[in-house]
């Protein structure tokens, strides 16, 4: 029978191979699902893995969706590395979008281009504020950050709904629950003609470099990492776990807020109840699949973006519901976690070799002990 055996050292091979194997398993299950639903699996795979990269325009769209995922996942990598479980990035994204939208609504016909940095800053502050609540309650009252951050997602959605159904509703919008379309000057500058890719992708790549430097080239990054890997050692060394908590939550909240700002002032261009698109939750998967590594999350963000675009295409081309994206995202994380077992353990197919043991003490000895 197959058995798991602890490796003397974690396998560095499997820490890279595991995401690949997980993707393979997800694809296999996907093929099985397509067959079971009576769809051509080749077409299915094409829609997910070829269509999103087959033309410059398609690649542009791929990057548009990958940008928020990447930015949020970078923040979450900081968070998860210090063992802080912020799963409310979706709420921080929404709060960032609301704050950014509020600034964008102030802009008039004559506003200068300074409004763009103001919008982005507002988004970051909004996300930080929302994550700061979780940090405060965790720090002061020891309240579980998983549950608090998640509850705040629902609260943020309600705040957004209140604003777009109430005070911020476009008076000329035929009573639709949405704000007016933001002024053109608030539009996040695009990189080139004919594609919706904007400077957000540059900010994201800047974030990649920044995170890499922070984690691997600064003492603060080292302290942060130790507090997650070995809390006791961190305490002994005098590294503050409170500091790590605040840093983790404020960074991830700020990143999610920035993503929200880029989204509303970029592709969406107004606040609607459909701003929360699940990027905050998908980014959790992006962070894990990318091994919480700044470069790794680039690849996983692109992969997850393919899932999103593939899902939309599957709806229009294959007649499958768009929510198939969520199925694949969940499957990917499941398979990844299962495959990650191979990092710390190895599979032994034969029975474990038993070391010769000393003969058990004879009954006389036992009697003598009585």
């Amino acid at each position: 029978m197959a058995q798991l055996e602890i490796r003397p050292q974690p396998s560095s091979f499997w820490s890279y191979a595991s995401p690949v194997l997980a993707l393979l398993i997800t694809v296999l299950i996907g093929v099985a699902l397509f067959v079971a639903l009576g769809k051509d699996p080749v077409k299915g795979l094409q829609v997910f893995f070829w269509e999103p990269i087959k033309s410059p325009y398609a690649i542009g769209e791929l990057l548009v969706k990958a940008t928020p995922l990447l930015i949020i996942a970078l923040g979450l990598a900081v968070c998860f590395r210090s063992n802080v479980w912020n799963i409310g990035a979706e709420g921080q994204f929404v709060m960032g979008a609301i704050a950014a939208g509020g600034i964008a609504l102030l802009a008039g016909k004559t506003t200068g281009p300074w409004i763009i940095p103001a919008i982005l800053l507002a988004g970051i502050m909004g996300g930080m504020l929302w994550a700061g609540i979780t940090a405060l309650l965790r720090d002061r009252f020891n309240a579980n950050e998983i549950l608090v951050s998640l509850m705040l997602v629902y609260v943020a959605d309600m705040v957004l709904n209140f604003l777009v159904f109430g005070p911020w509703k476009d008076p000329n919008g035929y009573n639709f629950p949405q704000t007016k379309t933001f002024e053109a000057v608030t539009q996040i500058p695009r990189l080139m003609q004919g594609s919706r890719v904007n400077i957000g992708i540059l900010l994201a790549l800047l974030g990649v470099a920044g995170l890499w430097l922070f984690l691997f080239r600064t003492y603060a990054g080292f302290r942060h990492e130790v507090s997650g890997l070995a809390p006791a050692a961190a305490r002994y060394a005098g590294f503050s776990s409170r500091r790590a908590l605040w840093l983790a939550l404020l960074t991830s909240g700020g990143a999610a807020g920035l993503a929200g700002a880029l989204e509303v002032a970029g592709p969406i261009g107004q606040l609607t109840p459909y701003v929360p698109a699940g990027y905050g939750f998908a980014a959790i998967i992006v962070a894990f699949v990318g091994r919480l590594h700044p470069v790794g999350v680039v690849f996983s963000a692109i992969l997850m973006s393919m899932f999103y675009i593939g899902g939309e295409l599957a709806q229009s081309r294959l007649g499958l519901p768009k929510s198939i994206t969520g199925v694949f995202q969940g499957l990917l994380l499941f398979s990844l976690l299962a495959c990650d077992t191979l990092i710390a353990y190895r599979l032994r197919l034969a029975k474990p070799i038993t070391m010769p043991v000393a003969t058990p003490p004879s009954s006389d000895v036992l009697k003598g002990a009585e």
């Binding site: 549950l147 998967i285 894990f288 519901p321 994380l333 499941f334 990650d340």
Partner: protein, 306 residues
């Protein structure tokens, strides 16, 4: 008078959902496993139960389907967490994300469907008592089942040998293992039982509580149930009371609306989530209290023979 009775009745019904799910999660946690996948299991169970009732017209078959769906997903979670030693939080989260996606995917055909007329379950004589009758004795049987379940769980956990073994697995898996108990199989059994109860709660939502299917209709009830186990300091009776308290908060929003309180509906809808946060803060501010009551191996993997 009449509206008070209705409010009480609705509170009990809303509390029942949370109570059943939280009791299931309590069983998990007593064995040392935290399943953050409650929301996902409830969503999948909700669509499984709803679809079954649409096709068969029998709500009890719907509950059974919901329990089966919850138990199956919990078993997958359990094998990953218990045998492959994956991180409990991450795996539970994966289950919640998968459940949200899968239920939306599987449920797309059922969005417009309606369920057959529901049966009424008045208890003879008692149902006709003024005030108390409509408040307490015209409930769906599941409301009483949740109460019985609480009593049963108290008896099981604190009055039977099996319950003692379950708790010992959660308090100190090493000791239980040394005594020869199959720790991992006991944990899997607890996880599957917990999943079945979460599934029952999910099916109750889509079959009885709000008889329809909408994507994401569990709306955080799985997460609130998770918070409830902490709030109740892992005591079944307190879980039930806490569930009714939260049921009351949920219903308060509709009651306030009907009283014409001039607050935007969105703020009233926030109440259950804000209440969860407030309660978590109040209960967690005394770390000693939590530490004394919490099963001590909670969240930690167990690797026998290491």
């Amino acid at each position: 008078m009449d509206s008070t009775a209705l409010l009480i009745a609705a509170t009990l019904s809303a509390g029942t959902v949370l109570a059943i799910a939280a009791l299931g999660l309590l069983i998990n946690e007593k064995a040392g496993i935290v399943n953050l996948g409650a929301e996902g299991m409830m969503l999948c169970a909700a669509i499984a139960g709803f679809a079954t009732v649409v096709h068969t017209g029998n709500s009890w078959l719907g509950f059974a389907a919901g329990m089966a769906a919850g138990a199956f997903l919990a078993a997958v979670f359990g094998v990953l967490v218990i045998w492959l030693n994956t991180n409990q939080y991450a795996t539970g989260l994966a289950l919640s994300l998968f459940g949200a996606g899968f239920s939306a995917f599987a449920g797309i055909k059922y969005v417009q469907e309606k369920l057959p007329e529901q049966s009424q379950y008045p208890i003879p004589f008692l149902a006709d008592v003024p005030l108390l009758g409509p408040a307490l004795f015209r409930q769906h049987p599941m409301v009483y089942i949740a109460m019985a379940l609480t009593a049963g769980l108290i008896w099981f956990l604190y009055r039977t040998r099996a319950g003692l073994v379950l708790r010992s697995v959660g308090e100190s898996p090493e000791s239980a293992h040394a005594l020869g108990y199959p720790v991992r199989r006991i944990r899997l059994a607890a996880v599957v039982a917990g999943g079945a109860l979460c599934g029952l709660a999910g099916a109750y939502v889509s079959v009885v509580y709000t008889p329809l299917w909408v994507e994401g209709m569990i709306a955080g009830k799985g997460w609130i149930a998770l918070a409830l186990t902490t709030f109740a300091t892992w005591r079944p009776a307190r879980v039930l009371l806490g569930a009714y308290l939260f049921g009351g908060v949920t219903m308060l929003q509709f009651h306030l609306q009907s009283l014409g309180v001039n607050v935007p509906t969105q703020f009233l809808s926030m109440l259950p989530y804000l209440a969860t946060i407030v309660v978590l803060v109040l209960i967690s501010r005394n770390p000693l209290w939590i530490r004394v009551n919490m099963p001590s191996s909670i969240g930690k993997p167990f690797y026998p023979g290491a």
